[in-house]
Symmetry: C2
Amino acid sequence: MELTERKMKILQAIIRNYLESGEPVGSRTISKFTDLHLSSATIRNEMSDLEEMGLIRQPHTSAGRIPTDAGYRLYVDNMLQGGQEEETSLKDVLLERGDRLEELLQQVVRLLSTNTNYPSMISAPVIRQGKIKFIQLSQIDPTDILGVVVIEGNVVRSTMIHVDEPLESKTLLRLNMLLNNALCGLSTDEITLGLVQEIKQQAGEHSEIAQHVIEAAAEAIHSDTKPRIYTSGADKILEYPELAEDNAKAGRLIGDFEEKKNLASIVQEALDSDDQDGDIQVYIGNEMPMASMQNCSVVTATYDLGGGMKGTIGVIGPKRMDYDRVIGVMKQIMRQLDELYKK
Amino acid sequence: MELTERKMKILQAIIRNYLESGEPVGSRTISKFTDLHLSSATIRNEMSDLEEMGLIRQPHTSAGRIPTDAGYRLYVDNMLQGGQEEETSLKDVLLERGDRLEELLQQVVRLLSTNTNYPSMISAPVIRQGKIKFIQLSQIDPTDILGVVVIEGNVVRSTMIHVDEPLESKTLLRLNMLLNNALCGLSTDEITLGLVQEIKQQAGEHSEIAQHVIEAAAEAIHSDTKPRIYTSGADKILEYPELAEDNAKAGRLIGDFEEKKNLASIVQEALDSDDQDGDIQVYIGNEMPMASMQNCSVVTATYDLGGGMKGTIGVIGPKRMDYDRVIGVMKQIMRQLDELYKK
DNA sequence: TGTTAGCACTCATCATCATCGAGTGCTAAC
DNA sequence: GTTAGCACTCGATGATGATGAGTGCTAACA
């Protein structure tokens, strides 16, 4: 069966209506509200066709129609106006921001959530291939040594190493040089067991310290591969009956949000599938594999702060989500993030 | 009216029963389940008295009785057995822990929440009066300088300082000495504007770098005064009808949890009111001033890792909370934290 | 004087049942 | 191809009555 112009219009009308009301929408409503000027009976015939095509369905006999996942997909792909951009107040927020990235992200995600009214997330930027740039050991106390590791992108990690007796400054210097020579320019996968052995051997009696530093370095690179995620607006889950109807499901969703579980996979998915920067992805229903999000839609976008520092922002809501608005807000925020980091 | 031994026993029986069932408890239930061997009629008379004393109340005529806040208070203060300690598996958790404090805390709070089945929180330890112990500047790139500050309790903060052209290693050394000499041993409130001016003057053309480092140092001390809070088990809120009955209220509670709002006041309250370490505090209903927690109880305890590093753990639940169990689990965890940090 | 049995009364809960109305599919007429 | 009309379905709503847990009160009892 062919999807005529008129069928498209009707489908669009159904979805628009359903997004607003959340109620199944009947033929009479459509006949009244569109500029098609068709009687409800005609609409009914068309609806019957649309149902056959798998784009809408009846929750039960003698109820109106609601869109299926396929219907949503068609809508998102072809019928969206691309979202007029909302005027968000990122600038105001940023004026009062602290200087720390963490707080910035927290504020951005809060902004995203308040403007869309959906639970939202943001992942801290990941450095793709972090290489070690700088290592330094310093004697802090007679029995404590501070190890600092800097990797590409100027991410800093520090570790405290406890020793039984103070090291001579000469020894410390030697260790510093040894570690820098051996490790600088390497990324995690280049730090082999053999290499570690070799370094430890060269470090002699201080092999334990070397070990510590290497571990810290590895962790520094690794812990930024597994990006930090910030969330906001988890409480909004309860505002959408289709997410909150079942306490157990809502609980799982909230739990996932709090623990940042599963959100990591969303981030990964978004980073992978994103062919073009600033592109916005929409996942409907079980297009997301996570069990807790079977009846959700997820909208994601990738931001790029330059230098390969990429992260993801995402909004999670019911399938009956105001896609237009969400996409608008997202575009706006992405653009402002861009501007902000050009400086 | 006097609170006789028998009245106490009846009150206790009512509360015990109510904690388990969540249903108003009637006279007949008490007469059957206690070893008092009294008829329901007698119990009714006593209950009538207890109601007059404000310890229990009827949600409506011809329903059983439930405890009032005052009743709970009496119960918590006088009738609790102090909780047999639960066997929690902190050790297992800790075996697989990473070395980072953050992860440790996250795991502890998760443990607390799974064992009690209530939403829980933990605050990272605050250093009361952090003094600067060590400062170091290192040239990382031609145009980037890494500043590292260590304060008491071995808390490390780092900052990246961008310069227009590389510094000579001699200059760097001089700055290092200058900053260490000027700032080591000081806490934030001792860093006056005058002192900052003086340092900047001595730094000469590099006053900007000095400024940066001082700010980082100040922030290092400051950001640990406003403690980080970790939470777990927010989803469990939905498991308790008295918290979830009203979607709006549950939402506010979940929101508070996610944003860590208001939890800071709990931490403060607990740290202040705690006269003795390891003491456990119970707040019932509006003994906590936060609006979102009017019909909750909060159980807190203060842990001490030595060296003035104190933090708070807390469990939030419905008034009808299994106080005995919660207190038991808390004691257990406190003890294990203690043991752990003796090493 | 304290305890208990008995009784009338209250009130939330639950299932039943009829009603209502939104919405459909089908048919026949335009 | 479009529309009006009609019978039919089925969830939602609300009234009704039965049930039963629980109370307060009174009178009898030890």
